[in-house]
């Protein structure tokens, strides 16, 4: 046992040494959603550490006290069936812990699935983030611009990412702003994020999507609203418009650098927003579906 403890101690030391220089990305949040998730993580690490320590202490005590080499030769262990009270405690305490963590978990679910709390009074910026093998296309419908593999966002403003994919399932993830969500071909998912201050972050596709998966990353720059507006203007002055043919070429499997266009691909290749199985649905179905979705969204915002 001793060897194991010394090993654990040295490992901890190593970890502190290796990671001491810089905080871990997920535990270094720069937005409200990531902050909520980081605090959940730290809370659960704390609670879980207590459980692990309790189990280890009981184990070490039992092993030390009842090891055969220490007990008399003729010691016969007793027959013990079990004790209702002891077992009730063994059930009761975990139930309480799980109930507490469940409460936190459910509460957090509704927080991360809604507009960040501190920014509820502002209109969110909607950005469509779509993936193709192995790049990200970011469309800003309000601003009428589109970028490839890089993302400029205003800080201090809620962001609503509409995620979908032109191929296999990918997962849109900016660890310092918040957790990930899948982008899929037959459905649009929504991820609510916000950046508290200007800064640069890394983002990536976290879900395995084939040969080019490792390099499927993008850069995120958060800036003040003024800087963002300036950038938008600049793009409108300098960038080329995105044509349908050019977009088709961009979709070919491979890697691309950062690119900027005016206009978005949504105009000629809309997101699969309301068609779970578009082939079989009539127009009426679609509109019904749409109403339903809007209804859901209003509900959502009320939370």
């Amino acid at each position: 046992m001793k060897r194991k403890w010394s090993l654990l101690a040295s490992l901890t030391a190593l970890v502190v040494f290796l990671t001491g220089c810089e905080p871990l990305l997920v535990l270094d949040p720069k937005g409200p959603q990531a902050a909520r998730q980081a605090s959940d993580i730290m809370l659960s690490i704390g609670v879980m550490a207590v459980i692990v320590i309790v189990v280890m202490v009981i184990l070490a005590y039992v092993l030390w006290k009842y090891r055969a080499s220490k007990l008399p030769e003729d010691y016969e262990p007793p027959h013990i069936e079990g004790n209702i009270w002891v077992e009730a405690i063994c059930v009761g305490i975990p139930v309480l812990i799980v109930a507490f963590l469940s409460f936190v978990s459910v509460k957090s679910n509704y927080i991360v699935e809604a507009t960040p709390e501190a920014y509820e009074d502002q209109e969110p910026l909607v950005i469509y983030a779509s993936s193709s093998d192995w790049k990200w296309h970011f469309s800003y419908p309000e601003q009428g611009i589109e970028t490839v593999n890089y993302l400029y966002i205003p800080s201090d403003r809620p962001l609503e990412f509409k995620l979908y994919s032109f191929g296999s399932i990918t997962s849109f993830w900016i660890p310092q702003l918040g957790g990930q969500k899948y982008a899929m071909a037959d459905m649009v998912t929504t991820l609510h994020l916000a950046a508290d201050a200007p800064g640069e972050f890394i983002g990536r596709n976290a879900n395995f999507s084939g040969k080019g998966f490792a390099e499927n990353t993008f850069n995120v720059t958060a800036m003040t609203q003024e800087d963002f507006d300036e950038w938008v203007e600049e793009v409108h002055e300098t960038a080329e418009p995105l044509t349908e043919d050019e977009f088709e070429e961009l979709l070919d499997p491979g890697h691309l650098g950062q690119m900027t266009f005016t206009g978005t691909h949504l105009e000629f290749s809309p997101a699969p927003e309301h068609n779970h199985s578009s082939q079989n649905e009539t127009k009426e179905d679609l509109s019904g579906h749409e109403q339903h979705e809007t209804h859901e969204e209003t509900n959502h915002n009320n939370h």
């Binding site: 490992l11 810089e22 993580i41 009842y66 969500k181 976290a206 040969k211 998966f213 779970h276």
Partner: protein, 648 residues
Amino acid sequence: MEFFQRFAIPHPSPAIYASMVAIALVSIAIVVGLTYFKKWGYLWREWLTTVDHKKIGIMYLLSAILMLFRGGADAIMMRAQLATPEAKLLDAQHYNEIFTTHGVVMIIFMAMPFIFAFMNLLVPLQIGARDVAFPRLNALSFWLFFFGAMLFNISFVVGGSPDAGWTSYFPLAGNDFSTSVGTNYYMIAIQISGIGSLMTGINMITTILKMRAPGMTLMKMPMFTWSAFIANVIIVFAFPVLTVALLMGTTDRLFGTNFFTTGNGGMDMLWANFFWVWGHPEVYILILPAFGLYSEIISTFSGRNLYGYKSMVASMVLISLLSFLVWTHHFFTMGQGALTNSIFSVTTMAIAVPTGVKIFNWLFTMWKGKIRFTVPMLYSIGFIPLFTIGGVTGVMLAMSAADYQYHNTMFLVAHFHNAIIPGVVFAMLAGLTYYWPKFFGFMLNEKIGKSTFWLLSIGFVLAFFPMYITGLDGQARRIYTYSESTGFGPLNMVSFVGAALMAIGFITIVWNIYYSFKNSPRNIGSDPWDARSLEWATHTPVPVYNFARMPQISSSETFWDSKKKGHQLFKGEYEEIHMPNNSGVPFVMSAIFFVAGFSFVFALWVPAVIALIGIFICMGLRSFEQDHGYHIHVKEIEETEEFLGGAK
């Protein structure tokens, strides 16, 4: 020539050519060896046609160890590639194939046969039966597993390995994105061995319900038998889902259906749901028998009865029910909304309660015991803290909002290895060491065994604990390389060192078997560990009929009662014993399954149809066969019992 081109590997590398040569050489060596030593007849009579649960168990065991090394070779290549930033050992395609086959081999072809090995070896002995309920079906189960495993394993030298991950998510696994035949191998090889698993499930449930010795009520069954029973109930409910999902995946790939495609009304999310409706219960199919083994071992080496037998059973029943209610936690990030995630978050965390009860029961079993630090006990002691860490990180992952940050990262990889290695692999090695003398007649060396334990434990901690940290630092899983600026380098190097230690540990197991075979004494008696349950009450090696007379059961520890409390285990005279005949049909039929599977992989319809007809002919033969088994006469039983050390 064009016909043969389809069998070429799409991404050849020197390592694959070397493997081809090695496979060819080993195959030739086996054939030449068998011919030279005139062992073909022996192999056919004693092994290929056997229906004896003990021999089938041993064949499962050998296959599992073989596959452990196959999957382990994949693992060490992955860790070597990731040990340094921007390493060039493997390219992306090769890396993708390796982590895919690592996952499939370790879960389906290593862990599953390992637990089936112990179920086969132990369940009939623990309940005092002569064999399983359907011995020939049991042989068919094994051979289907075996040929499924072989079909999967030839993929990397014929046509290319699957490369869409062991979860094989569509549309990535569909024809549009996985163009090689690799995923066909995945769909069909797992299907073939999955049919075998389903049959084992039915077989074991029937055996346990119908064939218990007189006096053994359900609540007097040894704990391993209870765990096997519940695991097999889960198999019977979970595996049909996999069967159907694989079939749909196969028709998508081979016949152009649109179940999981993104167009024409297909839905890729359906595959993920099907996969995990099977996949999560699968985890408990593996872990419950492991819990059963730990219960037997901890009880034996603490010299005490298992604490809280009833709550142990109740917690397993509860786990088996909950295991079907948590699958969505594998994709909290799919966008199903806060309500759905909340429900699955709570059900997932709820599993911690019965699991916690089990941990405390093991601790209380050791309490007031007389603990002997043997190799099987060391694994069980190491299991408790390490598995607790794996369990509590599971609770962390169950917090769905936080899971958005853990999902698809090394944190998750660390968690499930932390649950499976101390949970399942340690249990299998503990069981291997504990039951080795029962089936092979000699003990494994304790000294080598202890060094194996320490190599594996230290290796495990070094290999997997750093992943928790790199995961929280943003290292996604399944990336084949990373840049130096990410800072993942040093911790990945630590992981590689740990993996290397584990590799050495696994090699010492083989060394231990060889060394003990050469040097261990053979006069160990039938109860070398001073054990408690019924499987130790018969001779070593176990005679073909298991028990000469039916044991009389007093409690879940009948054998202990007979040693300490004067319980009379065997009463009455010898009677004629009825045993099943050997049969070559299961082997032949499974071999035809292999041919059919291979033909389907490459869409060779003529041989596929011929092979399918062959399968039905085998089934027809069995239906019309008159085989009533054979009888062992009293005189023969007396002679055997005399030879094995006298009647008890």
